[in-house]
Amino acid sequence: MVKKTYAEINARIRAGEAVVVTAEEVIPMVRERGIEETAAAVDVVTTGTFGPMCSSGAFFCLGHSKPRMKMNRVFLNGVEAYAGIAAVDAYLGASQIPETDPANKSYPGEFNYGGGHVLEDLVSGREVLLEAFAYGTDCYPRHKLEKMISLEDMPYAVLYNPRNAYQNYNVAVNLSERTLYTYMGILKPNLGNANYSTADQLSPLFNDPYYRTIGMGTKIFLGGGVGYVCWHGTQHAPGAPRGENGVPTAPSGTLTVIGELKQMSPRWLRGISYLGYGASLMVGLGIPIPILDEEMLKFTAVSDADIFAPIVDYSEGYPQATGEVLGKVSYAELKSGEITLNGRAVPTAPLSSYPGARKIARQLKEWIQEGQFTLTEPVFTIPT
């Protein structure tokens, strides 16, 4: 029986002795050496994902002006941030688009710039145009402010993403006769393609399916810097159907994550545009999984062939919320570039970057191996 504590693993990390592998590397190890031997040898398995995560954004404190101002409308490069909080605080959402954007009035809209792009500009060190408006009070007399501002100028900037790292997701297809423009990308008519979006066997929550080690305080890779899990995410649905290996076969767990924006990088926070749908943000996120025992190792050894996703029709089933699932398909099949549905070969495309996920898992592995990144035991784990 293998048993390790967080403290023991951290002591090994600090001593530079920890054995760390990625969720991809652990799979052949288990095949060759078996669960018990691998569990004894490995201390940490690192995961990663780099995909579109619309439910992302940042809290800013924009700093006080002279005279003071209680900003009640705030725009950064024309994109509105929610300012219904204290005087110079605001929250910018990744999916917010400028008021001047024609959106889908000229269908399909291009959505070339939105909240996600503002975040990418800020972490790239670029100045953005701050425009703020106020009704004015005795204590905050100023009505209007317009100035260029950079991330460095802001006294406080924190990425706070209410829903990231979805544990599994739909495979989107189109049974109708017209092209659909969705958050799952462009879906060609008559089963023209099948789009999916997870980091497969590298995805954090596939490697700890019952969240035994993930909860408030779990230290993670976020946007190129260090962040923390601070809650379960919106739409967290741990009760989804699961396979024998514990991995959900439908969209299920999600995370709320937080991290200092100033240490993040445009490489792992990228503004993106979905034709006919909207603007969003690609977020790089990675979670280290401590190998506390054989069970944890077994979870992290899950591979693409053992993870299944539901196929959903985005012309009817998804928009009308019928709940209809056309079938289930493994990530090994999806990654091959073609699946079979209704007797037809349907080409597949991912929306989440597998090479990005792999780089994150490797980066996190390096940080841990170098002794600069230790693991935190969660204050409490997210609901199962």
Partner: protein, 134 residues
């Protein structure tokens, strides 16, 4: 030799039968991949030209001396690798097989010799990593 070319016809010459001359006078085989030609407006054509090397160069010279701009196709659509996130959304949009996922690395590759400049990728790429350069 065989070469994909982009031909731009200024409005003043757009109504002249250039394709006919390339075939008849220069013995070239012209395969039109894409064309946008309208009366009295600047026109644009993507063609694959094949024939003897000498004929090819004389044909291009003829076009250029007539005011038509001709340049090799790969200069047209560029893959900006540092903007590419390798998400893979483009690969089912590209009708020419010019944007592909390499397996097992799952990295996006742009094979510009296969590109037919349909430009579908420009807006299908969420990170806007594909650019048209004219």
């Amino acid at each position: 030799m065989k070469q994909k070319m982009v031909l731009r016809f200024p409005a003043a010459v757009v109504e002249q039968p250039f394709t006919y001359h390339l075939i008849k006078d220069y013995n070239l085989m012209i395969n039109i991949l894409k064309a946008n030609i309208n009366p009295r407006m600047e026109g644009r054509m993507v063609v694959e030209i094949s024939g003897a090397e000498d004929d090819f160069h004389r044909g291009i010279e003829f076009l250029q001396s007539s005011g038509v701009k001709a340049f090799p196709l790969e200069q047209e659509i560029a893959w900006v690798e540092e903007r590419c996130t390798h998400c893979g959304a483009c690969v089912i949009i590209c009708p020419a097989g010019a944007l592909v996922l390499e397996r097992p690395s799952m990295e996006v590759k742009f094979l510009n010799e296969k590109c037919i400049i349909c430009e579908h990728c420009l807006k299908a790429c969420p990170a806007r990593a594909m650019e048209a350069r004219f």
